[in-house]
Amino acid sequence: MNKVISIHPAKDFKARSKAVLDNEGQRKNFRGAMDFLQAKRRSQFSDDDELQGLRNLGQAIRQYSLANLPRLLTQLEANLTANGVQVHWAENADDANAIALQIAQRVNAKHIIKGKSMVSEEIGFNHAMEAAGIEALESDMGEYIVQLAGEGPSHIIMPAIHKTKQEIAQLFADEVPGVAYTEDVDALIQIGRRVMRRKFAEADIGLSGVNFAVAETGTLCLVENEGNGRMSTTVPKVHIAITGIEKVVEKLEHVPPLLSLLTRSATGQPVTTYVNMISGPRKPGEKDGPQEVHLILLDNGRTQAYADDQLRPTLQCIRCGACMNHCPVYARIGGHAYGTTYPGPIGAIVSPHMLGLEATYPLAFASTLCGACNEVCPVKIPITDILVRLRSEAQAKPDTEAATLRGSGAARSAAVATVWGMWSQVYSKSGLYKLASWFMSRGRALSPSEQGAWTRSRTPLVPAPKRLRDLMKDRKP
């Protein structure tokens, strides 16, 4: 029922984008949602000096964390272990699912209740559990809605942002037993609350993501508004947290600035309703909380980004979603068109490491390079520089020094490479240039009328009848 969204977005990215662009209703939804989120964020950052200072600090903290990543990960592991948390390492999605499944089977779990976790989407967690006969139910309202609809999230913070309340009303009436059609948002939320309360009480395992993992204390921080994250991590007897290896910070005091940047950039809130800091399972004498807490540390391509000085800042990301909220491309095509778990500018720069460039390179081209994402990024990731780099990587000649990523050269075409090869010859040798331009100016009639993407909305390019050097020669003294 929970189908895995395409993992080969390169194939039909353009077709999906076009379908959304042709849908006026959906475009209106996205535009409205983006305007709303932009205004909310703006209202939080009225003092630009404060914003820039805080961004510099956020960037410094994330860069410090990444520069010391191997040390911080082992420190985190040691302190979590001392706190009674079991730490697992996963190289890829399959590893991570296998670890979770092994835990689930050991405790004979039938039901898993999930707090919101993008990493669980990244690894196709629900699908893997269902294949093993274990129910994995989303408890975040937005995630619950898209799961009911058999879809994936279209935004990393607001998963159901592509749906209108009418669509959700119809979905609930169709899919939730005993529910009549209502467009009243409070009533719809109360339906979700009622369904989920039983599920929280019955679930064997709670699964969550992690916003920040603190190495010095062995603490997992989770931010949320609904209370489902706290429910998932407190009520079931087992809590499994899953996170990318990049989410670690060294000091507890590194959390407040990042927290402030995260919630204000994401939804324009000074702070979320709950900031949940978990440092271990239930201790002797405590009356609630899970008896087991596990942390799965996932690589899934992150070490590839880490190895490259220009691409490493990709891992500074704190997953606020501000880059997508301000992206002129995302605002028009929405999250599903990208086909990846992470859409928008951050999706375009992080997905190639997870899925390979061959599956994701069109996303790097789906940008005007306007730089709005760079400007709003709370940790100052140079997103457009990375996009340009990925474009070159996609065109790089395979098995050369220029091809450093999985799938480098995937967009390379012999014809295009030949044309640019000739261009570089002509433009670097003056005799050749002279000769070539003479033929071009005389052979204007031979210019093709179809010139690929250029002529889709423009008139064909035709060389001038006279070269600059001819014009100069003709000039009256």
Binding site: L66, R71, E91, A201, V235, E250, V271, Y274, T303
Partner: protein
């Protein structure tokens, strides 16, 4: 080679120069200090909580239990859950209230989960403190006041002593040395649970409490 070894080997192989100079977090917060006194911090916190649709009531050591019971009556609550071995829990239990049962969280959750989910309207816990900015309560669950008390009942009463309000999260963390003493769970709370997941429309009472009622208790001897 295990996954752990492989991942660490790849990270180490990247030969990124480690940084030894820590980011100056304290310096940043130092420049941002408002220098507010306790009444100013209290006012800032109250305004923030109200904006998040929490209720805030000024109470004293003498009257807080009566205020709570009156509010509970007005809200039609039938049960209030308190912790064990806490002075405020004992004080509330000692009060006589018509139609309101004051119950204590004496047993591990595993034996009475359904009752907590379906049969308890409200709870009372004591906040460890609060932060004026961004306006959150600091909850520090313990064996006496377990985690689920502030999460499952529909209405959560929080007793907050006004002299425990700090300027911001960084101040309270460093002043109290949290990094040396993190308990199983710490939660910052700024209001009732909420969501805007349906067409960006804010709705309260998602999965956690529908109402957060803060009883702001003035220190003994302060002018009322």
């Amino acid at each position: 080679m295990s996954a752990r070894d492989n991942i660490l080997a790849r990270l180490n192989h990247a030969s990124v120069t480690p940084r030894t100079t820590l980011p100056d977090v304290a310096g940043w917060y130092g420049t941002r200090q408002r220098g507010e006194d306790l009444p100013q911090r209290t006012a800032r916190l109250s305004a923030a909580l109200l904006a998040m649709r929490a209720e805030v009531h000024d109470v004293t050591h003498a009257n807080w239990a009566d205020v709570l019971l009156n509010l509970a009556t007005a809200k039609g609550l039938r049960q209030v859950l308190v912790g064990t071995d806490t002075p405020h829990g004992a004080e509330l239990q000692a009060c006589q209230a018509d139609n309101i049962a004051v119950l204590a969280y004496t047993q591990p959750i595993d034996t009475w989960r359904d009752l907590l989910f379906d049969g308890i309207d409200a709870s009372l816990t004591l906040a460890r403190g609060a932060v004026a900015e961004p306006g959150s309560l600091v909850l520090w669950p313990s064996p006496s006041e377990p985690r689920l008390m502030s999460l499952v009942p529909s209405v959560h009463f929080v007793l907050l002593d006004a002299d425990t309000i700090h300027a911001d999260i960084h101040s309270v963390m460093t002043a109290e040395g949290w990094h040396t003493s993190m308990p199983t769970n710490v939660v910052l709370v700024c209001g009732p649970s909420k969501t805007a997941d349906i067409q960006q429309t804010l709705a309260y009472g998602a999965h956690g409490p529908r109402e957060l009622v803060v009883l702001l208790r003035q220190p003994v001897g302060s002018p009322s």
